[in-house]
């Protein structure tokens, strides 16, 4: 492999890795605040992208029973789709946390599996089995670096992922609500005693995660297209990314895990064998779980970060 080729692989790994990182972040935010592993996280990405596509371009729905052609500007479509998915996130919160009247996390996690299947089913009926494509955010020739190619959409993906991460960091560290969210993550009972409305924080965690997931799905859709079942695959990879480094409870671990997984996967496919691409994610997961069940970073590291 020439250096140019290796660089090309690195770009591809970082691009898909930023998406895994965003999905992983969604897992961590919900898990920290509510204790629930939301297995419908990938479906948020799928819904976000498919709704954005429906709002911005001509889309046949319900097995071509009718076609919508709203043609909203891309930016407005993206904002609306993200808001809609955040609404779905609020609904998911209600179904998972409020409605069951139980504190059993296991029951709540199983409900999220049901929600994932339901969302997938609704998407299958609405959009059918064919994948859809979102236009690139900015048209133009790709950027040549040696013989390696960096497309504009790759820049959008990496750029928006890092911008979102920075915004979230500021939100968690420097706003009152963000600090309250972190307090819930550290100790829910103590947070309640301190006068924090924990139910509201849980709702916020679901809404926030849904928004992050939707944006992840939207920025990657021009490159990989989106079908009713694509979310499952993104959710699975995001879950592995969230768990390997940070043990599902460290935001920075989730980001590093996502980027690493993306790069590792691409390099394994190119240098070892393309047949093993997906196996890598799960090999890494099994290896880490054998060695260290709470992820490579210990949970203590996270508490330190939270200032406890």
């Amino acid at each position: 492999m020439s250096p140019d080729q290796l660089f090309q692989l690195l770009i591809a790994g970082l691009t898909i890795g930023s998406i895994y990182a965003l999905i992983a972040l969604g897992f961590v935010v919900i898990h920290n605040v509510t204790g629930v592993i939301n297995l419908a996280q990938g479906e948020f990405a799928m819904l976000g992208a498919l709704i954005a596509i429906t709002l911005t371009s001509e889309t046949p729905l319900f097995h071509r029973a009718f076609t919508v052609n709203w043609n909203l500007p891309l930016f407005i479509g993206i904002v609306l789709a993200t808001l809609l998915v955040m609404g779905v996130g609020a609904l998911v919160y209600w179904i998972v946390v409020r409605a069951p009247r139980t504190d059993s996390v296991i029951i709540q996690i199983i409900i999220t599996i049901g929600i994932a299947i339901t969302l997938r089913g609704i998407a299958l009926i609405t959009w059918g089995t064919d994948p859809f494509r979102l236009p690139e955010f900015s048209a133009g020739p790709p950027i040549q670096i040696g013989s390696a190619v960096l497309t504009r959409q790759d820049l959008w993906v990496i750029g928006s992922a890092f911008a979102l991460m920075a915004l979230l960091y500021l939100f968690f560290q420097h706003t009152f609500i963000g600090t309250s969210l972190r307090a819930c993550a550290v100790n829910r009972t103590a947070a309640r005693l301190m006068g924090i409305n924990v139910s509201y924080m849980m709702l916020l965690a679901f809404v926030l995660s849904a928004g992050i997931g939707a944006l992840a799905g939207i920025v990657i859709a021009p490159k990989t297209f989106m079908g009713y079942d694509t979310g499952t695959y993104l959710g699975l990879k995001g879950f592995v990314a969230a768990i390997v480094i940070g043990g599902l409870s460290d935001e920075r671990g989730a980001i590093v895990g996502g980027l690493l997984l993306g790069v590792l996967e691409i390099f394994a496919a190119a240098l070892i064998s393309s047949g093993y691409k997906d196996a890598i994610a799960f090999l890494v997961l099994i290896a880490v779980l054998f060695v260290q069940t709470t992820g490579i970073l210990r949970r203590g590291a996270k508490r330190e970060a939270a200032g406890v």
């Binding site: 591809a12 069951p100 339901t118 009926i125 695959y233 190119a270």
Partner: protein
């Protein structure tokens, strides 16, 4: 509180069940389904159809079902099938959905063969579901006609006495690609294909035939079904500088693959196989689809075929009939595979009646020069597919449509 939990659980279950059971669209109305047999008419002839109306293979199954219903409609409007006993028999088509699932296909086949007692079994849309139905058909000595591509469905022929199929195998598809490569003096290619039964069959055919022709396959890369990022495989291929790239995929992965091929600045000619033979590929890949070539049955380019082509009239009639029956839908090659299977079954019923063993013998020995949609069929004891390279044409995507590339124009770039 308990009540509320129960209500909620019931709601979730209801939603799940509804989602699972919802049938996407109603079938186009068939005017005479199992109408009461007319006076002086014989027993209806039963034909069983297992197809993937829902699930991932539904883009294959729906046109197959609609085509079968259309033929039933045509046959029964004309009075039915005139059997060997001289009486007119209504055609009774019994349709089962396998939801693109191999185990459901087996159950559907059992029901049709053992309870409904059909004379001939047609199905299913996909290779895995078809392979699963073989045992039921063979054990009950019922002739079966599959509409799926994998060559294992009819091979080894000694164990597939009762099984026939209408789509082209992957071997003739590769043969057409090979003709194009030879005409352009290309000796070094790279390949990338989906890692499932379809991709493997196609890659095996390619590796065998290319080796024999002295064409070197520099890289034989794979990707998993559902994969969406192919940069790793393409970067490797780009470094090897092949003169052409062969892709074995369906639109779901084939379209993003083709787009990424272009964004990486790769310019070697792209040859797909017949997996991308519907409009979805062009709609998804858009500009990147321009110039892509692939071998496919003649249906896509029926209008531009020379008038001397034996299939042209049949193809044009099918396109017109299908459009009229489905309110203006364009037929796909999958519907064509269904047309071939049902029409051959009808021809068999007309010649020998609903006797399963006689039907099988008819299929094996009497289906000669049968002009269908996928090709001109010649079934024999050693060949249960019966169509070869001559049933395929090379098509190039141009201006968002398909362009017929005549064999004498392969070299003219």
């Amino acid at each position: 509180m308990k009540k509320r939990f129960l209500a909620m659980t019931l709601l979730v279950i209801a939603v799940l069940v509804l989602t699972a059971c919802a049938t996407p669209t109603a079938a186009p109305q068939s005017t005479s389904p199992t109408a009461a047999p007319q006076a002086a008419a014989g027993e209806p002839y039963k034909v069983g159809l297992v197809t993937s109306i829902t699930g991932p293979a539904s883009s294959l199954g729906i046109p197959e079902r609609d085509t079968a219903l259309m033929i039933q409609d045509q046959v029964n409007k004309a009075g039915g099938i005139k059997g060997p006993d001289g009486a007119m028999h209504q055609m009774e088509l019994i349709v089962e959905d396998d939801a693109s699932d191999a185990s459901k296909a087996t159950l559907a086949a059992k029901k049709l063969v053992e309870q409904d007692n059909v004379a001939v079994l047609i199905g299913s849309s996909g290779s895995p579901a078809s392979l699963a139905m073989i045992e039921t058909a063979t054990k009950n000595s019922t002739p079966m006609i599959s509409m799926a591509s994998a060559s294992q469905i009819v091979n080894p022929i000694a164990e597939r006495n009762w099984i026939f199929k209408t789509p082209q195998a992957n071997q003739p598809v590769t043969a057409v690609q090979l003709d194009w490569l030879k005409a352009n003096n290309i000796t070094k290619v790279a390949s990338i294909g989906v890692n499932n039964a379809f991709g493997k069959d196609s890659r095996d055919a390619m590796n065998a035939q290319f080796k024999e022709a002295g064409i070197e396959v520099l890289a034989d890369e794979v990707f998993q079904p559902g994969d969406k990022d192919f940069t790793a495989q393409l970067t490797k291929i780009k470094g090897l500088n092949p003169e052409a790239v062969i892709i074995h995929a369906t639109p779901g992965e084939g379209a993003p693959l083709t787009v990424q091929y272009h964004t990486l600045g790769m310019t070697a000619p792209l040859l797909h196989n017949h997996g991308i033979g519907n409009k979805d590929f062009i709609n998804l890949a858009k500009d990147a689809a321009e110039g892509v070539m692939f071998p496919i049955g003649k249906l896509l380019v029926a209008n531009s075929l020379p008038d001397s082509d034996p299939q042209k009239a049949v193809l044009l009639k099918y396109i017109a009939d299908y459009g009229a029956f489905t309110n203006g839908k364009a037929p796909s090659s999958f519907g064509g595979h269904g047309w071939d299977a049902v029409q051959i079954a009808v021809a068999g019923l007309q010649a020998v009646g609903p006797d399963r063993a006689k039907l099988r013998d008819y299929f094996e020995n009497q289906v000669k020069n049968f002009v269908g949609i996928s090709g001109v069929f010649n079934w024999s004891p050693t060949d249960h597919v019966g169509i070869g390279k001559e049933s395929l044409v090379l098509v190039r995507i141009k201006d968002g449509g398909w362009e017929f590339v005549a064999p004498d124009k392969y070299a003219a770039q």
